[in-house]
Symmetry: C2
Subunit: 294 residues, 2 copies
């Protein structure tokens, strides 16, 4: 039998993504030992009760001493604090990676706290659900999904390769990107859609009481799909918007211009403008189906 | 064996909704005979090939002579033309209903062409998929979904009751509403979500070539859910926006104000504003799940 890819994996923060990594890594035998470092006593207890980790707690020294791979899965706003907490306890030669939805801010906030003796390979699995916490995870979450890695120039190719092997073994395809480019792509594919969903659900929440009950009752006509997206973790999303400000503001601006153009077409009864627009958007749907990401 | 609810049902336009009615009505034995009146030769051929109707064609006189229930399932922009075409051929005592997504415009455009000898019960099943055409229908589409009826004051209660029985037998729950109120509720639950989805997918379509490929590749992070909604029938949606102009423009205005407020919070780094907003929107999701409409 071949030895596992990693001796010990330490998952920092045991939410939806890291608890799915725990399950997938165990299922595919990718680590001899899986531990989690989480400030929440309740999250640690849950992870132990679910049997997805071998040890759990809030003491970095104890949990990081043997860790060969450290996967940071906290909201991106906590990266500086995480760096300060884990930096002094990292084993020489260890690989530090993460699953944060923005990458520039992670490089900015986490990297300065890491010793020169460790390798840093930031990452972002393009997978998730609207549910949060260690109980929401499942081993198949990454199957057929992309994982974007954003290593800085000069990163040890061996470290990138080991992180690649981990994600590939869990079913993902790997894409290498620059952090800034990642943040621009995700601003449109993920951050704007979530902001729009949060906005429209908020608009509905502000309606008069009677109307709000009817919105819930008749939500199957389109609205409910937005409520699913807008049920995602509030802290995680607060941090994403605050840490990808420029790219998000730029794409909101484009979106608002486009919405205003359609609004104007509705006001002036421009049937052809509307029809042409609604036809063109079908092509992207077909492309997504063809790319097997539907 | 009891006799079916209707002798002959004539489905005017055989798209997703009417072809689902054909299947459900047949499955539950709700009509002795089901026919379709559709200007498209291809749609008629498909419906006959699928075996979901007993007769199909474009001659109103022949197809309406025996019809006890006429269900209009064309885009709402075609209602006046449909009224002109069917009006002179309707049997005395027949019930005319429809499945249009706006109701004021249907009353405005269809009713004037109907003789006094028929009953008019406008309706709108809150069900659908992003697919179009007679092949996209299925008998279970209305199961557990609401159907809104918007009869005008003075409508024969017996006619309302028969339409209610039809929808109930196909698995729906019935809600009676005034047409204007329907259009306001649907503007928020359906029309705005679709417009937003069409907008964001359009914004992505306008990106530079390379970026567009990446948007497709990494669409699983939120964007793809919008592309599904934005793949709906372009003619149908063009007509909805043009025929529910006031309610849609009013709700776009509210939405834009709310988006601008969140945009401002992102720009100024107002963490608490964002978090509070993102927390509140979870309540509506829970209410929809509780209402079994998720």
């Amino acid at each position: 039998m071949s030895s596992p890819l990693f001796g010990t994996i330490c998952l920092v923060g045991i939410g939806l993504i890291n608890s799915s990594i725990a399950r997938a890594a165990r299922l595919h035998g990718l680590a001899a030992r899986i531990v989690t470092l989480d400030a929440s006593e309740q999250a640690c207890e849950t992870a132990l009760r679910l049997g997805i980790v071998d040890a759990a707690g809030s003491d970095p020294a104890a949990l990081l001493a043997e860790a060969d791979l450290i996967m940071v899965g906290t909201p991106v706003g906590a990266m500086a604090a995480v760096g300060q907490a884990i930096g002094p306890h990292l084993k020489a030669g260890a690989i530090v990676s993460d699953v944060g939805s923005v990458k520039m801010a992670v490089v900015r906030d986490l990297l300065p706290h890491l010793p020169d003796t460790v390798h840093f390979v930031p990452g972002h699995p393009i997978a998730g659900t609207e549910h949060s916490g260690p109980e929401a995870g499942f081993a198949e979450l990454f199957q057929g999904r992309w994982c974007i890695l954003t290593p800085l120039p000069g990163t040890d190719p061996g470290a990138i390769d080991k992180v690649t092997q981990l994600w590939t073994a869990m079913g993902s395809m790997i894409e290498i990107m620059e952090p800034l480019h990642h943040d621009k792509v995700l601003a449109i594919t993920s951050h704007l859609p979530h902001l729009i969903a949060y906005t429209i659900v908020g608009t509905a929440s502000d309606l008069e009481g009677d109307m709000q009950q009817e919105v819930i009752k008749f939500s199957a006509s389109g609205f409910r799909d937005f409520t699913r997206i807008a049920a995602s973790d509030p802290i995680m999303w607060r941090d994403i918007f605050l840490n990808n400000k420029e790219a998000v503001l730029e794409i909101i601006q484009r979106f608002t211009e486009d919405l205003t153009a359609l609004q104007r077409a509705i006001r002036w009864g421009e049937a052809e403008t509307l029809e042409t627009h609604f036809r063109e958007t079908r092509a992207i749907r077909r492309a997504i189906i063809d790319a097997k990401q539907a």
